[in-house]
């Protein structure tokens, strides 16, 4: 059995139920061929026999890879190709039949599809949708290192905020405003900022704000989210990973809806963008249909007071657990 998928971090988490599922379907050998990001997410999965690294050249589209897939799948009993499994089935992309249609049409087409279900059905097991959960694995050393770093925040109300995303509608422009409200309201709060090296201009400072932006890799941020009392982020892989643990996740949804990404999440505190166009179910690389405010898509502006209500819910959950 060979599975191929090249995707971003969130996409990789969405396929993480498959290795166990396939083993339980009786496949003695389960190999995955993945790109760099998925290589990180599935790296320690014990249900994968061979994790093969392959990075498609930038700009590659499906038909370019057909000869490659024909070659690599030789000798396997079954080949599951997840290329475009979410992009085709769950999101409207430029050039497809739905991209230029109304929001209502796309909501009807894509609004009822969960990304985990889509992945499992695409793999050929629709009857198993809902029966497998995402799984992330770490080495003992990775866990020890992360736990040791978190010791400094023992007993604090730990809020992990993702400041950025891969596209403009995934950047959390209101992060600083939300963080300062949290710190003003909760004396025991500590805010941890995460993001990439290119996001250092989005970092803000202050008492009880700790930034690991550009310092820690995605998978370490994913593990940190396990130990936090709340995670706040836009529609990014960090939120998908935080939901794996059942961490109260204030997922700020723009293009997707809760059915798409939160159906199976425990302690989901998602918030849908108040913009009329949200959810649009588009992969809006060029934003040609989007309304802008101050140079940003309008869907990125949330009601901060409502986010704070969700933070209070997360704080209450923590109080019950402590």
């Amino acid at each position: 059995m060979l599975v191929s998928r090249y995707g971003a971090f969130g996409d990789a988490v969405f396929i993480s139920p498959l290795p166990r599922l396939l083993k339980e379907q009786g496949f003695d050998q389960v190999d995955f061929e993945v790109n760099h990001k998925t290589f990180q997410v599935l790296g320690n999965n014990p249900f994968i026999d061979n994790l093969i690294y392959f990075e498609p050249p930038p700009g590659t589209i499906g038909h370019d890879l057909v000869p490659h897939w024909e070659k690599i799948s030789k000798g396997y009993d079954k080949f599951i190709n997840l290329f475009g499994s979410l992009e085709v089935g769950c999101i409207s992309m430029a050039g497809d039949d739905f991209y230029d249609k109304s929001d209502e049409v796309r909501r009807k087409e894509f609004g009822g599809i969960n990304f985990y279900d889509q992945t499992i059905a695409w793999a050929g097991y629709p009857e198993l949708c809902g029966r497998y959960r995402p799984e992330l694995y770490f080495t003992d050393e990775e866990v020890k290192k992360t736990e040791a770093w978190l010791e400094q925040f023992e007993g604090k109300f730990k809020v992990l905020i993702g400041v950025s995303g891969s596209l403009p509608h995934k950047d959390f422009y209101q992060a600083e405003e939300v963080a300062k409200k949290i710190l003003d309201k909760y004396e025991d709060a500590i805010v941890i900022l995460t993001g990439g090296k290119n996001d250092e201009n989005k970092v803000f400072s202050g008492d009880r704000i700790v930034s690991v932006v550009g310092e820690k890799p995605f998978m370490q941020a994913a593990l940190i989210s396990k130990y936090c009392d709340a995670v706040i982020c836009m529609e990014t892989g960090l939120g998908v990973a935080a939901q794996v643990w059942g961490t109260p996740t204030i997922f700020l949804l723009t293009s997707s809806n809760p059915v798409n990404v939160c159906r199976y999440a425990e302690n989901s505190l998602h918030v849908q963008s108040p913009a009329n166009c949200s959810p649009c179910h588009r992969g809006p690389y060029k934003y040609e249909h989007c309304e802008f405010k101050d140079g940003r898509p309008v869907c990125v502006y949330f009601h901060v007071d409502y986010i704070m209500q969700r933070v209070e819910e997360a704080y209450s959950m923590r109080s019950i657990c402590v």
């Binding site: 996409d11 093969i52 690294y53 990075e55 992009e87 085709v88 050039g95 290192k145 090296k197 992969g283």
Partner: protein, 140 residues
């Protein structure tokens, strides 16, 4: 069919990608005679700590090189010496096929360099290969 797939410039990924391939689409020609170990492609300097866990060659052009091996090496920062962490005998390889290196999992610190080298040998056939390296990002 969508026009591509989401890319994600966050975390270290954007910085890591160039280190994962010795010149994506740039092939290392194996034609000729090697009288001394030579570096192919370009040295890849790590800007974050990583662990090399796998490597493979993709043969753009097939051929037979019974003698030649490709060697993946680590050069620790400031030492100027290379130590082998993986090898792959070219042998007979059809075009558009992969062949895996035998790799000893090895950690590299920021500043260390990955090298792709051609071991000594004489070979006439043209064999172009693109080598990619599977890296796990080390927690900090």
């Amino acid at each position: 069919m969508g026009q591509g797939y989401y890319d994600d410039a966050r975390y270290r990924t954007l910085q890591m990608l160039p280190t994962a391939a010795f010149g994506l689409l740039k092939t290392a020609s194996l034609a000729g005679t090697t009288t001394a170990a030579s570096t192919l492609g370009y040295p890849l300097k790590m800007i974050h700590p990583v662990r090399v866990v796998s490597a493979s060659g993709y043969f753009v052009v097939g051929g037979t090189n019974a003698i030649v091996s490709l060697v993946l090496s680590k050069s620790a920062a400031g030492t100027g010496t290379a130590s082998t962490i993986g090898t792959m005998a070219v042998g007979t390889s059809a075009a558009a096929t992969h062949k895996a290196f035998t790799v000893t999992e090895t950690s590299l610190s920021a500043g260390d360099t990955l090298l792709l080298q051609r071991a000594l040998g004489t070979h006439a056939d043209v064999t172009d290969v693109m080598v990619t390296v599977g890296l796990r990002e080390t927690f900090e």
